[in-house]
Amino acid sequence: MSTPAPGLLEGQTATSDLDLDADVIIIGTGPGGAVSASTLARAGLKVLLLEEGGYYTSPRFRMREDEAYPALYQDGAARTTKDLGITVLQGKAVGGTSVVNWTTCFRTPEPTIDQWRRRWGVSSITRDALDPFFTAAEQRLGVTKVAPEQMNRNNELLYRGCQALGFEVDTIKRNVKGCAQTGFCGLGCPIDAKQSMLVSYVPDAMNLGATVVSRCRVERLLFSGARVTGVEGTLLVADGTRPTGYKLRAKAKHFIVAGGGINTPALLLRSDAPDPNDMIGKRTFLHPVVVTAGLYDEPVNGFYGAPQSAASHQFQDRGAEVGYFLEAAPAQPGLAATVLPGMGDEHRKTFKKLPLTAAHIAITIDGFHDDVAGGEVELGAKGRPILDYPISDRLWRAFRDAHKTLAKVQFAAGARMVTTCHERGGILHSVDDIATIDQLDYAPSTVLVTSAHVMGGSLMSDDPKVGVVRAEDLRHKTAENLHIVDGSVFPTSLGVNPQMSIYGLAGLISQRLADRWA
């Protein structure tokens, strides 16, 4: 057993098994893990971070989809739910999903925290408690509001369309310093302008003494009674596609799982972690997204320029119906080709107009209605996770409503034609055609539903009979030295893009833990 030196060890380069020890082991180097590591290392604790993804840095961010998707995404960007009905974009790299996200920063909305308090027994996490940690993260990550003249055309069309209809709309805040508006956030920022964990909290933690081992897939937590005694991991080759043959074993006093939605519950399931409330993996949320593509008479070039710079919360709270918010999405062709419906000549005819096409999305807010309770993580072959996410009638209704809204926005902005990315939806030529959306059959794999925000599955609650972890310190209900600090603890989806919520929560909780452990 050795205490590893500070810095980054690329796991594929190990030429023997690794036996390591530390004060704290953190699994995952995304928003939850990186922020926690930085706080705990600053407090003087020896922190070891284990990351399944590879240590890709900006020389490898060459704005090429064929390089980025296999390298930086879960399942090569082809992760889906069990019935194949929802495609899931989630990162896998040192820095986690923050390396490939679209830089949008929102603090956790008060209504969301209210829901957690009222319905899920979360009394120890409040906006007041979180705000200082939001402020700290915003400062560290250069979070600034977009000026309207900075929007690319794709976002501007969303903005103008909403304005024309009297919908609330505003520019958003982004975690960027020196952004050149390339538009390639989703493929890894080519100039390190995006303040992902890779260029912020992960190096901060390493500079304060932490060690990161990349290409290490943690297979299980080892339990002895109510305590975690260690972890076992498999070291993977550089591209992550298979083991090198070497293993990692590590021990610590404290363990923090920060693998994010889907992966954190899967690790707990693989480890046969205690589950007194039978909740591990349940209430996994996706902010399921539906899309419209609108054709304009002018260049839109949605594949260039910051992917997201505007948002509308006009339909955030629809009472008994599921709410949604509106944003734009980047249109790099490898991704856009899969979003537009059709195949062969029919697909080609529409797709060759991509430069004239605006891609707008509605992000539905799951987890606030009893029959929109998210999905459940199960284990598939070789312990890899599968998310079973059934879509209820209420959620299908929300997709339909959101499509109609998005189509109205596109036409208000000047679109000539709009598609809802439904295979039988045809082309809408004016607002008069929007009613045809009501005639369509909405069912899995008839219409594109996608996700870029995976949350939940390790629910936090101060009620001992509810959830997987306590809210006050994100400690497992019964395992005394196990914590989960990532987006999997949220009892509902957030209603806003998740990264800032995780930075704030991880900042708050890791400080509580640092005060306790250091």
């Binding site: 090569g76 690319n152 501007e156 050149a180 100039i191 390190d192 500079n207 320029g305 195949m343 794999s445």
Partner: protein
């Protein structure tokens, strides 16, 4: 069905004879024109499922002939990053497409996908697209997405639809080997020590956000700052 077609299809036999597809007057694969698939090692697919996928790619994407086989190789590469279950499921889906269409009504004389004419192949795919069976619809979408992504994720092919690709050419990083590093070693900078001087990576001037009045990105070229 032509004798030609019957003779040419060998599937899943020991030694894995290559499938060859003839479309008569319609575009198809001609074995001699494409380098033996064995020369470019398949990582997830087996040979029969590879050729079925190539036939699918020839219908879903603009690729024909050799390019369709190249797309199938691209999908095979992409499959390496997917979990084992998803890999197995995709191979099963391809065999299902090839062998199990008899239940779907066809005018043609064969229900074997790779033996069908392109029009029949399109109908077979649409039948899955519109099926009342959720998993068949899902299988169609998986095939559609995988092949279209493999086609258009290559920026040189996407140039044909007006995509300018990467905004500038970054230097080729070192080739990735199984146990080699992906990046330069991280240099730890303890607090209160100055960071080592590093030349900042040459960044372009900020690119004006896209407006109707500004020039669109050039099709097929790369803009230099």
């Amino acid at each position: 069905m032509s004798m030609h077609r019957r003779q040419l299809i060998k599937r899943g036999l020991a030694g894995g004879a290559l499938l060859t597809l003839f479309g008569g007057g319609v575009l198809g694969f001609r074995r001699g024109e494409y380098a033996d698939v064995g020369a470019r090692e398949l990582r997830v697919l087996d040979e029969p499922s590879f050729w079925i996928l190539a036939a699918v790619a020839a219908r879903t994407t603009p690729a024909q002939g050799d390019l369709a086989a190249t797309i199938a190789h691209g999908v095979d590469q992409a499959l390496r990053t997917m979990p084992p279950q998803a890999q197995r499921d995709l191979v099963d889906v391809l065999y299902l497409l090839e062998n199990a269409l008899a239940g779907v009504l066809f005018r043609g004389s064969t229900s074997v996908f790779t033996e069908m004419s392109p029009i029949e192949q399109d109908e077979a795919l649409y039948a899955w697209r519109d099926s009342s069976v959720t998993l068949l619809r899902g299988a169609y979408q998986s095939l559609r997405r995988l092949t279209l992504a493999a086609y258009y994720a290559d920026a040189t092919r996407a140039a044909s639809i007006g995509y300018g690709g990467p905004l500038w050419a970054k230097p080729e990083p070192g080739k990735v080997t199984d146990q080699g590093p992906l990046s330069e070693p991280y240099v730890v900078v303890p607090p209160n020590k100055p960071a080592p001087a590093t030349a900042p990576e040459a960044a372009p001037a900020p690119i004006a956000p896209n407006k109707a009045s500004s020039a669109a990105a050039p099709a097929g070229g790369q803009e230099t700052p």
